[in-house]
C-alpha cells in the first residue's frame, strides 16, 4: 500500500467518524432524551476537531506558502488548485448555510402565528371570565354560610360544617382558627382527612378582613375554586376564624378549562422555546458547516497535493533532464492522463539515456580511434600535416615539428603562410604547399631542401587531397627527412672511395719514394752543377709530394676506418678550454669568446675523438677567417626542448659563411670553399658526431657560419656494441 493510499484511507476513516459525530450531534439536538448526556461531549469533540482542523490547515498553508516561496516544483499549481478547491467547497457551503440559516429563522418563526396567539389568549381570558362569575357566586355562598357559623362554637363546628357543605355544594369546607389552625373540616372525599391548607399570604389578607377567592388547580382532582371568608365566632367579630371552601368546577367546564390551559401553556412554552430551538439548531448547523468546510479545505490540500504530485514529479524530472540527468525514472502514476504522461516521460527518459549511452560509446570509440591514430602518427618518423579546406593547419604530428624545427602548435587554425611569416625557415615549405594547393592536384610529390635551425634538411614531401565536404576537402602532407639517408649513402660511397684510394695509391707511393731516393743517391754523385741541382730539386719534390700524398692517404684511411670509441666521463667545458688554449698562440692571433654553461653535466664520450672534433671545428673556423681579425665564439649549453638530454656545442666564426650551394654537401669530404685544408675536416667532425649518436648542423648566421653539435649525455651504446661485434 502506498503512502498516498494509506493517507487517503485515513482521511476516509476520519471523515466517516466526523459524519458519525455530526449525525450524533444533530440527533442530540433533535432528541435529547437519547443523546442529551452526549450532547456536550459531542460539542466538545467537534470543537476539538474544529481546532485540530484549523491547526492542520494553518500548518498546511504555512508549508505550502514556504514551498511556494522556495519555488518548489508544483507548489504554485498546488496553491492554485487548493484555492480552487477551497473556493468550490466553501462558497456553495456558505450559500447553503446562509439560506439554511434564514430558512431556519423564518421557518421557526412562521410556526408561531399572531392570530393563534391572540386566540389562545382570548380563550384563556374567556375561561377566566367565565370562572370569575362562578368564583364570585361561590364567595357569596360561602359568605352566607359564614354568617350561619357565627353562633357555632368550636365543638359544634364539625356538625355545622357538614350541613353547610351539603347546602353550599362545596367539596370541602374547613373552619380555620388563628394561624391557619384547623378547627373543623368537612370533605366530600372521606379518604382525604386533612383539608388543603391555604398559604400564609391568604391568611394574612383575611386577617385584614378581606375575603379571598381564587382558582386552585389540584393534581388529580381538577380545577377547584378556593374561597376564604372571615367567619366570626360566638366570641365576637374580633375572632380570627376563617371559613375555607373548596368548590368543584363543573366537569364540563373543568375539562374545557384544562384543555385551554394545556393548549395555552403548550403554545407559550413552544413560543418561548423557539429562541433556544433556533440557537441550538444554529449552533449545530454552524458547527456541522464549519467542521465540514474545514474538513473540505483540509481535504482540498490533500487532493491538490495528490493531483499535483505527478505533475511536480514530472517538473522535477524535466528539471533533472534539463540538468543532464538522463534516465531518471518517476514512480508510476495512476491510469489517467497524468499516469500516461508519467509513463511517457519514463519512456522518453529511458530512451534519451540509451541514446546518450550509445552516443557516449561511439564517442569513446571515436576517441579511442583518435588516440590510436595519434599514437600511430606520433610514432611515425615521417612528418604529417593535415590542412583544412581553407588551407589552415588542422593537425600535425610530433615528427612534423621535429623535422621542420618550427613550433607547429602555434600555427593550428592558421594558414601556413602565417607561420612562415613568423619563422622564415619555414617559408619554403609553406610556399611549396601553397603552390601545389593552387594546382589542385589530387596527389603530388616533391623534394625540398630546408634550412632549419638544426641545420639543412632534405625533405621528400607528398600531398594528397582528403575526401571532404563540398568540392574541396582538406589536404594531408606527409614528408620525410631524408638528410641522414642521403648523407649515409654519400658517406658510404666516400668510405669506399677512401678505402680504395688508400689501398690503390698507398701501394705505389712507397716504391715511388724509394725510387726517387735511390735515384738521387745513385745519380747525384755523377752529376755536376746545374744537373745535380735539378735532380736534387726534382727528387726532393717527388719525395715531398709523395710524403704529402701519404699523409693524404693516411687521412683517407683514417676517415674510412671503423670507429673505435673508448668512452669515459668527460667534462666538455674543460676540454674546450684545453683545446682553445692550444690555438691562442696561432699566428693569426685569433680572439676566442667562450660562453660555457656553468652547470653542464659530464659527457660519456671518447675524449680523444672529442678533442679531434674540437680541433677540426676550430681549425675550420680559423681558416674561414681569411686572414682578417678572427673572432671565434665557442658556447656550450644544455639542450632544451626535444634535445633536453643532449649537450650542445656551438662554434661560430665571423667569416663570410658557407656557400649556399654547398650547404647540402657541407659535411662530405672535399667539399670546401677554402684554399687550404685537407677537405676532410668537417667530414671527420660529422663522423665523430655520428659515432657518438649526436646531431650536427650548420647554417649561416648574419655575420658568419655557425656549426651546432649536439651530443647525448650518455655515449651511444650502439657505437660501442657495433665496435665490439
Amino acid at each position: 500500500m502506498t503512502d498516498a493510499t494509506r493517507q487517503g484511507l485515513v482521511r476516509i476513516g476520519l471523515s466517516l467518524l466526523l459524519i458519525l459525530s455530526l449525525y450524533l450531534l444533530s440527533a442530540a439536538t433533535e432528541n435529547t432524551a437519547r443523546f442529551g448526556r452526549l450532547y456536550l461531549w459531542l460539542l466538545l469533540l467537534n470543537g476539538v476537531v474544529l481546532v485540530a482542523l484549523v491547526a492542520v490547515i494553518v500548518n498546511n498553508l504555512r508549508r505550502l506558502i514556504r514551498s511556494v516561496r522556495s519555488r518548489e516544483a508544483g507548489s504554485r499549481l498546488t496553491l492554485r488548485l487548493m484555492g480552487l478547491f477551497a473556493v468550490m467547497a466553501v462558497l456553495p457551503g456558505l450559500v447553503v448555510y446562509g439560506f439554511s440559516m434564514q430558512f431556519l429563522q423564518r421557518g421557526v418563526d412562521s410556526w408561531f402565528d399572531v392570530r393563534v396567539e391572540n386566540a389562545l389568549d382570548d380563550a384563556l381570558a374567556l375561561s377566566q371570565a367565565s370562572l370569575d362569575q362562578r368564583m364570585r357566586d361561590m364567595q357569596q355562598r360561602l359568605q352566607e354560610a359564614a354568617l350561619d357559623l357565627s353562633d357555632v362554637d368550636e365543638g359544634m363546628a364539625p356538625i355545622a360544617l357538614g350541613d353547610l357543605r351539603a347546602r353550599t355544594g362545596a367539596s370541602e369546607l374547613a373552619l380555620l382558627g388563628e394561624n391557619g389552625r384547623i378547627i373543623a373540616a368537612s370533605s366530600i372525599d372521606t379518604a382525604d382527612i386533612l383539608p388543603h391548607r391555604p398559604e400564609e399570604g391568604i391568611l394574612l389578607q383575611l386577617r385584614q378582613g378581606r375575603p379571598y377567592v381564587g382558582l386552585d388547580p389540584i393534581e388529580n382532582a381538577g380545577l377547584h375554586i378556593r374561597a376564604l371568608v372571615p367567619a366570626p365566632g360566638p366570641d365576637g367579630p374580633s375572632g380570627s376564624r376563617v371559613l375555607q371552601g373548596l368548590f368543584q368546577v363543573s366537569p364540563r367546564i373543568n375539562d374545557l378549562a384544562a384543555e385551554v390551559e394545556d393548549a395555552f401553556s403548550e403554545y407559550r412554552e413552544l413560543a418561548y422555546l423557539r429562541g433556544p430551538l433556533k440557537d441550538s439548531f444554529s449552533l449545530t448547523l454552524s458547527l456541522v458547516l464549519l467542521v465540514s468546510l474545514l474538513f473540505a479545505v483540509w481535504s482540498a490540500f490533500y487532493l491538490a497535493r495528490r493531483l499535483v504530485a505527478p505533475v511536480s514529479r514530472l517538473a522535477e524530472g524535466t528539471r533533472a533532464m534539463a540538468a543532464g540527468e538522463y534516465g531518471k525514472q518517476l514512480p508510476p502514476g495512476g491510469n489517467d492522463e497524468l499516469g500516461f504522461l508519467v509513463r511517457s516521460f519514463n519512456d522518453m527518459s529511458r530512451r534519451v539515456a540509451e541514446v546518450r549511452d550509445a552516443a557516449r560509446q561511439s564517442q569513446d570509440l571515436v576517441e579511442a580511434q583518435r588516440a590510436y591514430l595519434e599514437t600511430v602518427l606520433g610514432r611515425l618518423s615521417s612528418g604529417v600535416l593535415a590542412l583544412a579546406p581553407d588551407g589552415s593547419l588542422r593537425t600535425f604530428n610530433q615528427a612534423a615539428t621535429a623535422i621542420l624545427s618550427v613550433p607547429l602548435a602555434e600555427g593550428v587554425g592558421r594558414p601556413l603562410s602565417a607561420l612562415a611569416g613568423q619563422y622564415a625557415d619555414f617559408a619554403p615549405f609553406a610556399e611549396l604547399v601553397a603552390r601545389h594547393r593552387q594546382t589542385s592536384e589530387a596527389e603530388w610529390r616533391a623534394e625540398l631542401s630546408l634550412n632549419t635551425s638544426d641545420g639543412r634538411r632534405s625533405l621528400i614531401c607528398s600531398g594528397a587531397m582528403l575526401p571532404g565536404e563540398g568540392d574541396r576537402g582538406g589536404e594531408v602532407i606527409v614528408f620525410d627527412d631524408v638528410t641522414t639517408l642521403i648523407q649515409a649513402q654519400r658517406d658510404a660511397a666516400w668510405g669506399e672511395v677512401a678505402r680504395r684510394l688508400a689501398h690503390e695509391i698507398r701501394n705505389p707511393l712507397t716504391p715511388i719514394q724509394l725510387s726517387a731516393e735511390r735515384l738521387q743517391h745513385k745519380v747525384a754523385g755523377h752529376l755536376q752543377g746545374e744537373e745535380a741541382s735539378v735532380l736534387a730539386r726534382s727528387t726532393d719534390t717527388i719525395i715531398h709530394q709523395v710524403e704529402a700524398m701519404k699523409e693524404m692517404v693516411q687521412a683517407f684511411s683514417e676517415y674510412a676506418r671503423p670507429p673505435v670509441l673508448q668512452p669515459q666521463s668527460v667534462d666538455l667545458n674543460a676540454l674546450v678550454g684545453e683545446v682553445v688554449e692550444l690555438y691562442r698562440s696561432e699566428p693569426e692571433q685569433p680572439e676566442f669568446r667562450l660562453a660555457l654553461a656553468d652547470d653542464l653535466p659530464r659527457l660519456e664520450a671518447d675524449p680523444g675523438r672529442l678533442r679531434q672534433l674540437l680541433n677540426n671545428l676550430l681549425r675550420n673556423a680559423l681558416e674561414a677567417a681569411e686572414g682578417g681579425d678572427c673572432v671565434v665564439t665557442v658556447a656550450t649549453a644544455r639542450g632544451t626542448g626535444r634535445h633536453a638530454d643532449m649537450i650542445e656545442l656551438h662554434v661560430e666564426d665571423n667569416g663570410p659563411g658557407f656557400d649556399e650551394s654547398m650547404l647540402d654537401q657541407l659535411f662530405e669530404p672535399y667539399v670546401s670553399s677554402k684554399p687550404r685544408g685537407s677537405g676532410l675536416g668537417l667530414a671527420i667532425v660529422k663522423k665523430i658526431v655520428e659515432e657518438h649518436n649526436g646531431i650536427i648542423g650548420a647554417r649561416n648566421t648574419g655575420h658568419g657560419a655557425k656549426i651546432t653539435v649536439r651530443l647525448p649525455r650518455v655515449a651511444a651504446s650502439d657505437a660501442r656494441s657495433g665496435e665490439n661485434q
Binding site: T29, N31, T32, A33, G36, R37, Y39, L40, L43, L44, G47, V48, L50, V51, V95, Y97, G98, F99, M101, Q102, L104, Q105, L124, S127, L131, E199, E200, G201, I202, G214, L215, D216, P217, I218, E219, N220, L223, A257, V260, E261, F264, S265, E266, Y267, R268, E269, A271, Y272, L273, P276, L277, K278, D279, S280, S282, L283, L285, S286, L287, L290
Partner: protein, 193 residues
C-alpha cells in the same frame, strides 16, 4: 448572499458559544442561586429526621421560562454517610425528593407537585412557593437503630435544578448557559446518636 443580519448574528453567537465552550469554560453553576442555610438531624423516637432550610432564588431567565409554561424540576438530595478516614465515606442512606414547579395560567397560580406522591399545592406567588419548597421539616432519614451509638455520621443535603428534566430544546441551552446551572453547595451536618 441570503444572509440576514439576525442570521449572521446567530451564526456569530453560535461560533462564540463554541469558542467559549472550547476555552475550557464549562458553564459555571450560578453562585448562590440555591443555598442550604441550615441542616440538622433530629432523633425523634425510632427515627432520625432531617430539618433544613434552603434559600431558593431563581434567575430571571429561569423565572421567565417558568412563567412561559416551562415546568421546572427541583431535586433535593439527602445523604447519610459514615466518614471513613482511610477511604471514601460509606453511604448509608440516599434519599431524593423531586418537585415539579409549574405556572398555571388560568388560575394564575404557581403549582408545586411532589413527584413521588403526586400531591400538589398551588401558590399565589413564586416566593411563597419557593419558601414552602425551602422548608424541610421532619424528613425521615433512617431508623435510629441502624446507627451505631456515639459515632459521628454526616448528613449531607444538596439541591439543584434538574436540567435533564427540562424540555429537550431547552436542555441544550441549559447545558451551556450558566443561568440554568442552579445548584447549591452541599451542606453537611454532623449527627450523633
Amino acid at each position: 448572499m441570503g444572509f440576514t443580519m439576525p442570521a449572521l448574528r446567530k451564526q456569530i453567537s453560535a461560533s462564540l458559544a463554541v469558542c467559549l465552550l472550547l476555552a475550557g469554560g464549562w458553564a459555571m453553576a450560578q453562585a448562590d442561586a440555591f443555598r442550604v442555610r441550615a441542616l440538622t438531624g433530629v432523633f425523634d423516637g425510632e427515627l432520625l429526621y432531617a430539618e433544613a432550610r434552603i434559600d431558593y432564588r431563581l434567575t430571571a431567565t429561569v423565572q421567565q421560562a417558568l412563567e412561559n409554561g416551562v415546568a421546572l424540576v427541583i431535586a433535593q438530595e439527602l445523604r447519610l454517610e459514615k466518614p471513613r478516614w482511610w477511604w471514601r465515606n460509606a453511604r448509608l442512606v440516599e434519599l431524593d425528593r423531586r418537585y415539579r414547579l409549574q405556572y398555571h395560567a388560568i388560575s394564575r397560580r404557581y403549582v408545586m407537585t411532589w413527584l413521588a406522591s403526586g400531591d400538589s399545592r398551588s401558590f399565589r406567588t413564586l416566593d411563597a412557593l419557593l419558601q414552602e419548597l425551602g422548608r424541610i421539616e421532619a424528613w425521615p432519614v433512617t431508623r435510629a437503630e441502624r446507627l451505631t451509638p456515639e459515632t459521628d455520621y454526616e448528613l449531607r443535603l444538596q439541591s439543584r435544578l434538574e436540567v435533564e428534566s427540562l424540555p429537550r430544546l431547552l436542555r441544550t441551552v441549559a447545558l451551556t448557559e450558566s443561568d440554568w446551572q442552579l445548584e447549591s453547595q452541599p451542606w453537611t451536618a454532623v449527627v450523633e446518636r
